[in-house]
Structures are given as C-alpha cells and as structure tokens.
Symmetry: C2
Subunit: 440 residues, 2 copies
C-alpha cells in the first residue's frame, strides 16, 4: 500500500446526489486513492437536518449542520446543496481559504459563474463542474479541453431529461401533454412543481454554461432566449410525425459568422421546442436521456450521449471532478481559469435564422393560397414546401383548409412579423402553430 | 492585445494530419493564444522531404529535415510522424529536454506506452494523445478524468473507420467483401495494403489504449485478442439482418468481476466482428464514423460519436492537446501521470463469456437436431434459440438443412471445443459461421 498524501474533502449537501457521492467516496476509497495519487478523506458532510431520511445511510459522526468549520481547512470542497445562497458564499469561502471546489450547481454557475471563476483566478484555485450540464455525460472537458484548438459552430443539446421523457412519450404513445406530465410526476420523473423543467429554465441554465465554454464568452442567463413545451399538444406531435419530424426541447448555441457590423462573429443561445428530422442522431434520444450534438469547424459532427440526471449517475461526474481536483492539488501549480477572452456579442432571437413550419387554418376559398404566399413573399419568407388538406365536408367554399408551410431559412423577426400579418390578412382563421426546424 | 508568454512549438511530420495542424496553428493563432494563455509559436516542421507535395501549402522556411535541433529547446513537441522509430526516440528526447509532448501515434503508444509515460513521470512532463484513439472523438479525457471516480464495466467501440465503412456498405447494399474493399480503396477509404485495418491491427492498438485508461492497467498489445473482418461474407451479413442484427468490428474492453482465484477483478480486451442488435446505439453508426459505448457502474451507459479519421478532424484533437499542454506549461506544477496502479490481470480469450450465433449445415435426417443439441449440452453451451431451414428440394432425407443456433452466454473455450465436436459429430456437413453476439 502506497503511503499517499491525505487530502481533506468536505461535502456540502447530502440529497440524491450528495449521499451517493459520500457512499462512493467511502466504498471505493483505495481505488480512488490510486487514481488520484492521494487519499481522499471525507472529513464531514454539512446538511440542514442531520436526522433527515436519506437514500443512502451515512455515518452519523460525519454529519453536521455547521458548514463553515468544515470548509475552512479542507483541500477540496464539494458543493451539492443547490440554490444560490448559501451555496455561493460557501464556495467563495472555500476558494478564498485555498480549496479547489467541485459543484453541480447549474443555477449558481449560470447566474454567478463569473464571480466564482474570478475569485478562483485570484488565488489560483480550480472550479470543476462536470455535473452541472447534462448530468453524467462528460461534456465540460471535451468542450473546454479537447475542442480548445477547434472552432465550435453549433451545439444542439437535449439537456433536460424530464421534458425529453414527456415529449418522447407524447410522440410514441400519441398521448397529450397534461396526461404524460401527470404520469411523469407520479413516477418521479417530474417535480410536483414542474415549472423549472417544462418552461425551459433548467435547460436555459445549461445552455448558458455550454455556450460560455464553447464560445469562450461570458453568457449571462438573461441573454438566453427561452420557451418551454407547455404549448406542445397531441396535434402538433402527430403533424410532426406525419412530416418525418419529431419535436424535442433543444438548447441551441450557435456561432453566427460575420454577423457584427465589422464582420466579426456573434453568438445566439436559445432554448425552445423544435422539429428535427427523424434521421438526425438527436431524434433517437429516448426517455429521460440527454445528448449533446456538437458541430465544430475541424472536428465535424460529434455527439455525446448518456443519462442526464439521477443521483448515482450525477455522482459519477462529481467524483471524476474530485479526482481531477486531487491530482491538481498534488501536481501543484495554479488552476486553469476559465477562457472567456473571445467575448463574442450575443444577438437577440430576432436576428437568428432557422427554417420554420407554419400551420394555418384558412378559408377554403379560391385565391387563399395566393394571398398567403403573397404575404410570405413580402415578408422575405421563402416557401420550401406546402401541403393543403381540407377539413370539414370537403366541398369547396364550404369549409376550412389546413395549410402546412415549410420555409427556407428566414430571420426570426421577419417570420414573426409575417405571421402577425397572416393572422390579420382576413383569410387565415387560425394560426395553429409556428415551429422552428433545426438540424440540417 | 494581451502580452502573452511565447511558447515554442515544434511539429514532427507534415502528412495529412500534420499539415492541417500547421495550417490551423497559423490561421487561428490569436484565438488559440487567448484560450491557451500563451502565444503558440510554430518554430519548425521536421519532414522527410521538404519538396514533397502536401495537402496544405506550408511556409518553406519552417520546413527542415533535421528534427533534433527543433526538439531541443521547444516547449511543446507534436509528433505526427507515425511508426515506431524515430518517433519513439524523438519523443523521449523531447521529454528529457523539458517539453510536454502531443502525439497521435497509436502504434507507438500501444507498444511503447509505458516507457514513454515513465520517462514523462521522471521529469514531470505530460503526454497528450487524444488523437490516438477514435480520431476527433474526445474519449481520452472522459476516460482519464471524467470517469476517474467511477468504475468502467465495459467499453464497446467502433474504432476503425475503414472497416465500419466496408461492413456498413455490405449491410446496406448486400454487397460482398472483396467488391466493397476494392471500391473503398478506389475512394481512398482503404489503403492499397488494407491489412492494418481489415485484420483488426489498428483497432487492437486503440483497444489497448482505451483499456489501459479505463481500467488503470497497463495493457500490452500482445494481450489483445484480435480477429479481422476478411471472413465476413454476404451470406453472414444477410443472415444477421434476417435475425435483427448487424455485424460490426468491435473493440471490447471488459471488466470481469470476481474472475481471479482470490475473487478480484480481471479484464479482457478483444477485437472481433460481432453481431449486435439493430436497436443498439452502435448499430446506427454508419460509414467511416466511429463511436465508443461505455458502461460504467455509476454513470450508466454513455456514448461518444464522431469522425474516426481524416486529416483536419484528427488535427482538431491534436490542437486541443496543444492548448492543454500550453495551459499546463503556464500553470506550472508537474504533469498528471498515467494511472496504472490497478494493474488488473488480463485474461485469455478462452475465459471470456459471450452469447454466440452458430450456423451449421446438417444432414436433413431424423434425429440430427437431437444429436446437435446433445453435443451442445455436453459442452456446457445452453441453447436460447434455434431456427432450422431446409436447403435443396425440401423432401426429408434428401438434402441439407441449415441450423442457426443462438446460445445463452457461454465460455469461449467451451464454445470452441463444442464447435469442434459438432464438426466431428458426423451429422454436421459444414460449420458455416460462429459469431459472437455483443451488447445486451
């Protein structure tokens, strides 16, 4: 048995992920020591309530409600409490007392990331956060290190397991949103208050983290355009399937080449439900799984796939970070800071171009298609495909027709103004849906 | 413009990958400097012939046939010459003169890895080799760092683009091996001498590298069981398709729990064509693409997908390593060495268990199936499925029947002895094929 240096590890939080981290740290101690080159001694676990029920039983003597003495004097501090405070203060305190820190707190990083990275930079500490985006999928190191010599063009990620579970079941069972959501809540795939997931807040936090890394640019959460999936209904799902698409909640981080006035690059970061072709690799991501599809200038197309959530899965990512932190502690030198020197401008959603699928109910009258086509053309929205179906008794002039229009790439602002004009044109009864098409 | 420290970068080799690395280093200089925190100055490119034709035009004044003066005094040495010598000597020289090194040389690492890693360890240098396994796909860092806190159970990789291209076309077009190989050679997907690819040597080198990382164990190339794809014919492909499988050349790195006499773990590393279910994520890896499927105790199933080869794609992985090496140079401290302390025993192929599909031509006589089933049962090979089809005129006793037997998991040695006994049993006309079934 090698005589390793001892590193003191403090754990803040013992919920679904934290309790698994504590368990694995204790179970695999000697193995982890061999890999890290140091014995990882779990010196304490800060919790709100030492008597709370936990997924895994933890030694009572390690539990404490007093985090601060734990933090001071630890070499590595793992923050798995979630939320902004006191997580933020504890992380800053850990950094300032010389620890390297590991966190899975996407809400904190997406809102206070620069403050935390700056603090670490000041003292040469490192911040590890593999578990903060796409759960167990190793995506942080590939973006930060492996692709550091390349130029990322676009990321399309399925980064929220709950919404992918819901959309996947709606797609495969022809079920409606509310029914699947209720079932997902019963099965524990969705929270009692599902807002963070179904409204895209969770995905937006992850999008901000991924875009920051990919484009070496600070991306504030407020700059992420966000739409949820609550408006997606069975009819839209059926129509998507009919057209060879599937609807996924996508986090899209895109480089817009030559977009600025001086010809420089800009970026767009957005979360919304979008149509993607059933032949796209992301279309076959089922259930609560996550996947991140990356297009880079030199590397081409890459995809990273795996479990997006789950206590023990996320614990794997956290422990990988703990081993990395330990290796750095042993190796010495200052930590690798964040790289945000590119700081590309972030454009509004209105300047983004994608393809669209517009579904309208129109009067089944002669000349209606010509009117619709005219409005689109005036609005600089070019039609790629049209499909017209009569609804009702099928006799001309007596009913309503459904028009599904696929567009070429159009600018979001042009498209949305055009849809407004269509709605006001007198021939459109109802704008059924407007969905973006991603991934060509 | 920040005033960065200058790092001297030497490039050895300017072939398909090297010329792209040189090009990208020069094109993206300022961007790479921002990310690395240092200016990467390409001080020279060692080549065999300065007048050779290259994919990308390189400045004549950087080219030299004299590698040694370049190596001495460089901070980062990139080795893209391939082959064992002089690559090995140059890398050792670079390490001993204080450089960090980057290499894509899988043949060298699979045969002389320990020597090179030891040399780096002695002086605190780092060896980066993301491009040595699965081309542009970031798999080294995920295995070495992200999964360092987990326990990898199994890796199944499609790590050779040429053979995947050939097998994919055989599958989708119903073509035969020789025809597709000839076409692949014409299109540049296969070399004039295709041995390294089609006999599995290239995949075996990558398997050794992946297994070393995943299991923290030195895996010599000689310990990798290797079979190529030259025996795979149209009939096998058709039969596989009929049974819901596809044939892929897989690199399998597997942990065998409790396999040693003292109840410890062992590992198996093997390369062979195997059947996998069409619903497995690896089945949808088409063309010359690569993918690595990883099963870990805590993280669950992960998959990494992308381009497995190609000059500019591989250059992306090399440059990611160069930026990492530069960051480490700036940060100071010793390099992170290899972790091989687990050093699990590597078992022979005979001790491995998998499922099998055995295809036999037997006399179409009463009692034949009973004889075959008896031989299998005596050999401790348990039958899961049987399908019998009559070949010939279909009248009993007059012809030959084809028997396709799917087995439960059986030990390779039992299986191969049993197949020998079947062949000698008097009722078997011909053993058509014996294929392993992976991925359940």
């Amino acid at each position: 048995m090698t005589d390793y240096r001892r590193l003191r590890v403090a754990l803040l939080g013992a919920g679904a992920v934290g309790s698994q981290v504590a368990d694995l740290l204790r179970k695999h101690g000697p193995e982890l020591a061999d890999r890290a080159g140091a014995t990882l001694e779990l010196v304490g676990i800060a919790v709100r309530d030492v008597d709370a029920d936990r997924d895994v039983e933890l030694p009572r003597e390690l539990l404490t409600t007093d985090a601060e003495p734990l933090i001071v004097g630890s070499d590595i501090v793992i923050e798995l409490m979630g939320g902004i405070e006191p997580a933020r203060s504890y992380l800053l305190q850990a950094i300032n007392s010389g620890a390297d820190v590991v966190t899975a707190n996407k809400a904190l990083l997406a809102t206070h990331g620069p403050e935390i990275f700056d603090a670490a930079d000041q003292v040469g500490a490192s911040v590890y956060y593999e578990a903060a985006a796409a759960g167990a999928i190793p995506i942080i190191r590939p973006l930060r290190d492996s692709l550091a010599g390349d130029r990322v063009q676009r990321i399309m990620g399925i980064v929220n397991g709950t919404t992918n579970y819901i959309l996947d079941r709606m797609d495969s069972e022809g079920a409606d949103f509310a029914d699947v959501l209720a079932d997902a809540q019963r099965l524990g795939y969705a929270e009692a208050d599902p807002t963070a997931d179904v409204e895209g807040f969770d995905a937006a936090q992850k999008a901000a983290i991924l875009a920051s890394l990919a484009f070496h640019t600070t991306v504030p959460l407020g700059a992420v355009h966000r739409e949820g999936i609550t408006a997606i209904d069975k009819a839209m799902m059926d129509a998507a399937r009919h057209a060879g698409y599937v609807i996924k909640l996508l986090a899209v981080c895109e480089r817009l080449t030559g977009e600025t006035e001086t010809g420089g690059d800009a970026i767009s970061v957005r979360v919304y439900p979008a149509l993607i072709s059933r032949s796209h690799p992301l279309a076959s991501v089922h259930g609560a799984n996550n996947a991140v599809f990356v297009q880079a200038e030199a590397a081409g197309n890459l995809m990273f796939y795996g479990a997006g959530a789950g206590g023990v899965q996320t614990a794997s990512a956290v422990l990988g970070d703990v081993v990395s932190a330990a290796r750095r502690h042993i190796a010495g030198g200052v930590g690798v800071g964040e790289s945000t020197r590119a700081n590309l401008p972030i454009v509004e959603i209105g300047r983004v171009t994608t393809r669209y699928q517009i579904t309208l109910e129109v009067d089944d009258q002669p000349g209606v298609l010509a009117t619709v086509a005219g409005v689109l053309s005036e609005g600089r929205v070019s039609i790629a495909t049209v499909e017209q179906t009569v609804i009702g008794d099928g006799e001309e002039g007596s009913g309503v027709a459904r028009l599904v229009i696929g567009t070429h790439k159009a600018r979001e602002q042009d498209l949305s103004e055009t849809v407004d004009r269509l709605a006001a044109s007198g021939v459109v009864e109802r704008v059924v849906s407007v969905l973006r098409v991603e991934g060509d």
